[in-house]
Structures are given as structure tokens and as C-alpha cells.
């Protein structure tokens, strides 16, 4: 187990280096001079551009810049400063990450709940009205784009129904702690502002999970050991809980870990539609400004979250499935 973890961590370091280096190379392959954008685009003054090159270290070769970046990261644990705003990137990512995390984790609870409910009930009564309705939901869920869903939700809940109690905010984020003065804060406001983003974000995954859980449960119900459980005289509820679900939900653990890890890098569409200042929005803004330091910051955060969640899944899997041993 310990050796396994050490090996995984070494792989994680390698993965981290490859991902950040590729980000670096791609950035410098784009036919744009970052110093020009930093100094205001077409009207950039040569003086300002020269200063920017020096300040950002753009006069050095790519590998040298990458080395500097690594050195700063390891020694000072700093992601550097934004090319455009000169803000500390640690601070920028630190501000955006809780927004994305709130969206993704809340969304994950929602999509898992819906997926389990629809998936299990559909599997228990295949071809019933309930099953058909569930599968129509799945079809809509996998087909509808989050941006479209976001706009529809905004239109109805934010505009059409604005005089009803179900009216919800359609943009912005409320911090739980230390809300800036003059802005809403606290848990209630936080959840209130996230209702629509959660729903929008969760629909696609809820549909995918419902379909997967339905298929898994139906397959597991035909397993021989489920028949054995019935032959022992176990009541249906117990058969479902202890024998069917326990086995059918094993793959869900893997999927959930990977999907959450991936989404923590930024739920770009949902964040854009509801104007949430999360990592996705931050990344888009940084890319269009050629702000390498910020792009790199978001990439690092996303990479780390994927690595951590994958590791978590592997360890969790060995715990829930006795056939897996970590060596």
C-alpha cells in the first residue's frame, strides 16, 4: 500500500511536469506577442513593450523560462504574477477555486442523487411508464447543451417568474465567508445564488449517470449471486441493497471521482452563462489576454485536482472492492 502510494506520487510529479511544459510550449507557439497585449494592443509603446519583456522574462528561451517557473513554484511556492494585472496568481486561483468547487461539489451531489433515483427505479421496472419517462429525461439531458439550459432557466426563473417565490438569481456568486461589503454573503445566499447553476451543471451528468446506473443495476440483477441471495430467502429490499447495489455501484465510484476531478478545473459553460467568477471564467479571460501565468495557474490547479481525485478513487476502490489489491 505504501509502495503503491509512493509510486503513484512519482507518476503524479512526472504528469505534472509534462502537463505544465506542454502548456508552456503551446503558449509560445501562438503567433502573438504577449508584451504587445500587456501594453494595450495596437497602440503599445515600444518602451512599455521592452519593459514588459524584461519584467516577464520573455527574452529568454522557452526552456529557460520554464525552468524559472519551476524554480519559483518549488522554492517560493508561487505561481508568479499575472501578465496583465500584476496580481499574485496564487491569489487569483485562490479566489476562483472556491466558486468552482462550490458549483462542482454541489452539482455532484445533485447529479448523483438524480442519477441514482432515476437509474435504480428505471432498472427495477424496465419498460414501465416510469422507466420510459426516465429515459426521456436521459435523452434530453445528454442532448441539451448547458448554455442553452442556462439561458432557458434564466429566462423562466429569472425573468418570467420574477414575481413568484421560486424566482432565483441568475448571475453572480455569494461568498459564504468574508463577503465583500455591500454584497450578499452567508450560506443561505450562497446556496440561493447557486441553485440554477447547480441544476444546469448537473443535468448532463445526471442523465449520463442515470443511464449508466440503470444498465449496471439491470445487469447485476441477472447475476447468479443475486439468485443465490433470493434462494437463501432474502427479502427483495435486502437483495437490492446488500447484493445488487453494492456491486452495481462499483463503477460509479470510478466515474464520480474522475468527473469531479475533471470538472474542478473549471465548469466553463455553466460559469459563463451565470457569470460566476470561477476557474473556467478566469481561464477564458486569461487565454484571451495571453496571460500565461494565470493560464498556467489554472492548469496546475486542474491537473492537481485530477491527480488527487484519481488517487482517491484508486484507494477508495480497493476499499469497496475486495478483489482489487493495491501493490
Amino acid at each position: 500500500m505504501f509502495r503503491y502510494l509512493v509510486r503513484r506520487l512519482l507518476w503524479a510529479v512526472l504528469l505534472f511536469i509534462v502537463v505544465t511544459f506542454v502548456t508552456f510550449v503551446i503558449f509560445f507557439m501562438a503567433p502573438v506577442a504577449p508584451e504587445r497585449l500587456v501594453c494595450g494592443g495596437d497602440q503599445a509603446k515600444p518602451q512599455c513593450m521592452r519593459a514588459a519583456i524584461k519584467r516577464l522574462g520573455l527574452n529568454h528561451p522557452v526552456y529557460y523560462q520554464y525552468g524559472l517557473f519551476l524554480k519559483r513554484l518549488v522554492l517560493e511556492r508561487s505561481l508568479g504574477h499575472s501578465f496583465t494585472t500584476r496580481q499574485d496568481v496564487n491569489h487569483i486561483v485562490g479566489q476562483a477555486a472556491p466558486v468552482t468547487a462550490s458549483l462542482v461539489l454541489g452539482g455532484a451531489i445533485l447529479w448523483l442523487g438524480i442519477g441514482l433515483l432515476v437509474g435504480i427505479f428505471s432498472a427495477l421496472r424496465p419498460r414501465s411508464l416510469l422507466d420510459r419517462a426516465g429515459m426521456v429525461f436521459v435523452l434530453i439531458g445528454v442532448s441539451a447543451h448547458p448554455v442553452w439550459i442556462g439561458l432557458i432557466f434564466s429566462y423562466f426563473f429569472g425573468y418570467k417568474l420574477r414575481n413568484f417565490p421560486i424566482h432565483t438569481p441568475i448571475a453572480g456568486y455569494a461568498h459564504i465567508f468574508n463577503a465583500p461589503p455591500g454584497q450578499p454573503g452567508g450560506v443561505a445566499q450562497w446556496a440561493y445564488h447557486l441553485i440554477l447553476p447547480w441544476c444546469t451543471f448537473a443535468i448532463l451528468f445526471a442523465a449520463l449517470y442515470a443511464r449508466m446506473i440503470r444498465a449496471n443495476v439491470m445487469e447485476t440483477m441477472n447475476e447468479d449471486f443475486v439468485r443465490t441471495a433470493r434462494a437463501k430467502g432474502a427479502p427483495e429490499g435486502r437483495v437490492l441493497r446488500s447484493h445488487v447495489l453494492r456491486n452495481a455501484l462499483l463503477p460509479v465510484v470510478t466515474m464520480l471521482g474522475m468527473d469531479i476531478g475533471l470538472a474542478l478545473g473549471g465548469a466553463i459553460f455553466t460559469e459563463t452563462v451565470y457569470n460566476l467568477p470561477g476557474l473556467g471564467n478566469t481561464a477564458i479571460l486569461a487565454v484571451s489576454n495571453y496571460d500565461l501565468a494565470v493560464v498556467q495557474g489554472v492548469v496546475i490547479f486542474a491537473t492537481l485536482s485530477i491527480i488527487v481525485f484519481n488517487l482517491l478513487v484508486d484507494v477508495l476502490y480497493a476499499w469497496v472492492d475486495p478483489r482489487i489489491r493495491l501493490t
Binding site: R227, T228, R230, G233, R246
Partner: protein, 340 residues
């Protein structure tokens, strides 16, 4: 009163292609402490018969009629709750494939204890002791330590032993064994059969053993039911069946048994395939494959009737008694000649 009395059992499945009649008009009795063997090819309805008795067919698309009287109570019309109380305590079942019949994510101990606690009000400690006792009885080495192992840590033969332990844990009156040795290799098969016989004497359960292997039947059963295409074609005591087989299908089965002694070029085989149960052949269902087929066989269904020689020996064939005796004698001669 018999322990189990099955009367004119019919089971059909609704499928997308039509109705499959998997069991048609099966009747038999199992007495206390006795062993009944059901023999037949795959798809002849032997497993479905047992699953119907246990109420384990999917309820959505299954239609069952007839009676399966367990100590006088009809299992086919019993409430799910009553059926659950009988399953695993009075009637228990062993399945064909021990590799997939145990839940991979629970320990052996937990699965054994579950079987006990579903039916008996025992403390965890007592149930644990009982489970260990059974594991020892079925010959699992280091039974105490292996309680906490998972199914994948056992070999196929050992898993089947665990299944047997689980089936016997509540002292059932009837043990249904659905091809208990089919998935095992030959040496393990013999061990499991010996074990089952020993435990049957020890626990005094009646056994209903399903197999396609006449050798298994000869070794274990008191009475035999031969099934072909959802119907019973012959029913007799095991001695009678092997000494005076009355049905061409039984002859085919016996002729295809490999024998060490017999000096044969190749084994006889039954030509053709078992018929589809969606559209079974008219008349006698065996007629398309029967070497003795007559005109009457193609149109008239032969009733399952007592043979002329012995009223306890039931058979369903239109052939005259002389031909039957001749063929049976011929078959016996081959065996005896080899043995002599």
C-alpha cells in the same frame, strides 16, 4: 404424505419471439430422505422446473400452472412472504456455477451468517459458530481463518463446498442441486458428489439433483426423471432405468456414455439438435431425431404411461413392448460384454 409433490406443472415464458413453453406437464414426488434425479439435455426444462418450485423465475414474464405441494402447501400460489420463509430454511438450492454464485464483495462468513440470520433468531456469535461448523463439515481446511476470506480467494471446488455449506446451514428438508458438478473438473466432481452423499446421510435431507450426466444419476439417485423438450419421457427407479430403459431418448443418452470397458470405435450419438420450444414438433417431440420413428409418432403425442412390464416404470413412447425389450437388452449387452 410426500415431502414434495409436483402435479402437472407447466411453466411458460413470454418472450419477444412468442411464448416459450419450458415445462409441460411434469409430475413427480420426493419422499423424505430420498434422492430424485432429473436428467436431460440443456434446455429440456429441468432447471426451470426447480426454479419454478422455488419461485425464482422472473415474475414479469413467467406463467406457471399446476401444483407444487410442499408438505401439502401449494408453493405456486403461496404468498411471497411464505415462500421466502421456506426458501433457504426448508428448501435450499445449490447452483451450477460456483464461480459466480457467491457475492464477490462480501466475505464467505458474512454470506453464511446472512443465510442463518434470515431464518433464525441467533446471536452473531452463535451464527458465526454455526457457520464455522458447516465450513468444517464440508471439508474446508482452516475453516476458522477462511471465514474472513472473499469468494475470489477460493478455488471452484472450494466455492461449491461453501455453497453446499450455505445450503445446509439451516438443516433443510430438501436440497435442490442444479448441476452441482458441471462447472468443476472431474476429480473435484467426484469429491463433491461423495461429500453430498455423506452430508445427505448426516443431515437426512431429501435431494433433487439436476444433471445431464447419467453417471451422476447412477451414483446418487434413487429415482430418475428423464426430460426431453419440456416433457417427461421416462420415469423409473434408478435400477429399472439402467436395466430396462424404455424410451429411445434414454437409449441415446446411455449409448453416448463413454465406457472404459466397451470396445467401441466411437460413441453413439443422438443425431440432430433439441427442438425449439417456441415451435416444438408435432406428435412425439423426439420423433425428428428418433432412429425408430413410425408414422404415428409424427401426429400423435404418446402419453406418459406405465410400461407393460412394470406399472411403476413410466414411459412415453409408441413403440411396441418387444422392440423396447430388444433394444434395452442390446444396450445392456454392450455394457455387460465390456464389463465381463
Amino acid at each position: 404424505m410426500s415431502l414434495l409433490e409436483v402435479k402437472d406443472l407447466h411453466t411458460s415464458f413470454r418472450t419477444d419471439d412468442g411464448i416459450v413453453r419450458a415445462v409441460e406437464g411434469v409430475s413427480f414426488e420426493v419422499e423424505k430422505g430420498q434422492t430424485l434425479g432429473i436428467v436431460g439435455e440443456s434446455g429440456s426444462g429441468k432447471s426451470v422446473t426447480c426454479l419454478t418450485i422455488m419461485g425464482l423465475n422472473p415474475s414479469r414474464n413467467t406463467i406457471s400452472t399446476g401444483e407444487a405441494l410442499w408438505k401439502g402447501k401449494n408453493l405456486l400460489t403461496a404468498k411471497p412472504r411464505e415462500l421466502r420463509e421456506i426458501r433457504g430454511s426448508e428448501i435450499s438450492m445449490i447452483f451450477q456455477d460456483p464461480m459466480t454464485s457467491l457475492n464477490p464483495v462480501h466475505t464467505i462468513g458474512r454470506q453464511l451468517i446472512e443465510a442463518i440470520q434470515l431464518h433464525r433468531d441467533l446471536t452473531k456469535r452463535a451464527a458465526h459458530a454455526r457457520a464455522r461448523e458447516l465450513l468444517k463439515a464440508v471439508g474446508i481446511p482452516k475453516a476458522d481463518a477462511r471465514m474472513d476470506d472473499y469468494p475470489h480467494q477460493f478455488s471452484g471446488g472450494m466455492r461449491q463446498r461453501v455453497m453446499i455449506a450455505m445450503a445446509l446451514i439451516n438443516d433443510p428438508d430438501l436440497l435442490i442441486a442444479d448441476e452441482p458438478t458441471t462447472a468443476l473438473d472431474v476429480t473435484t466432481q467426484a469429491q463433491i458428489l461423495t461429500l453430498m452423499k455423506r452430508l445427505q446421510e448426516e443431515f437426512g435431507s431429501a435431494v433433487l439433483i439436476i444433471t445431464h450426466d447419467l453417471g451422476v444419476v447412477a451414483e446418487t439417485a434413487d429415482d430418475v426423471l428423464v426430460m426431453y423438450a419440456a416433457k417427461v419421457v421416462e420415469q423409473a427407479s434408478v435400477d429399472d432405468l439402467f436395466n430396462r430403459p424404455q424410451h429411445p431418448y434414454t437409449w441415446g443418452l446411455m449409448g453416448s456414455l463413454p465406457r472404459l470397458e466397451a470396445d467401441l470405435e466411437r460413441l453413439t450419438q443422438i443425431p440432430g439438435q433439441p427442438p425449439s420450444l417456441l415451435r416444438p414438433p408435432a406428435g412425439c417431440r423426439f420423433h425428428p431425431r428418433c432412429p425408430h420413428v413410425m408414422e404415428v409418432c409424427k401426429t400423435t403425442v404418446p402419453p406418459l404411461a406405465p410400461s407393460e412390464r412394470d406399472p411403476a416404470h413410466l414411459q412415453a413412447c409408441h413403440l411396441d413392448q418387444e422392440t423396447k425389450d430388444r433394444e434395452a437388452a442390446k444396450l445392456l449387452e454392450i455394457t455387460m460384454a465390456g464389463a465381463g
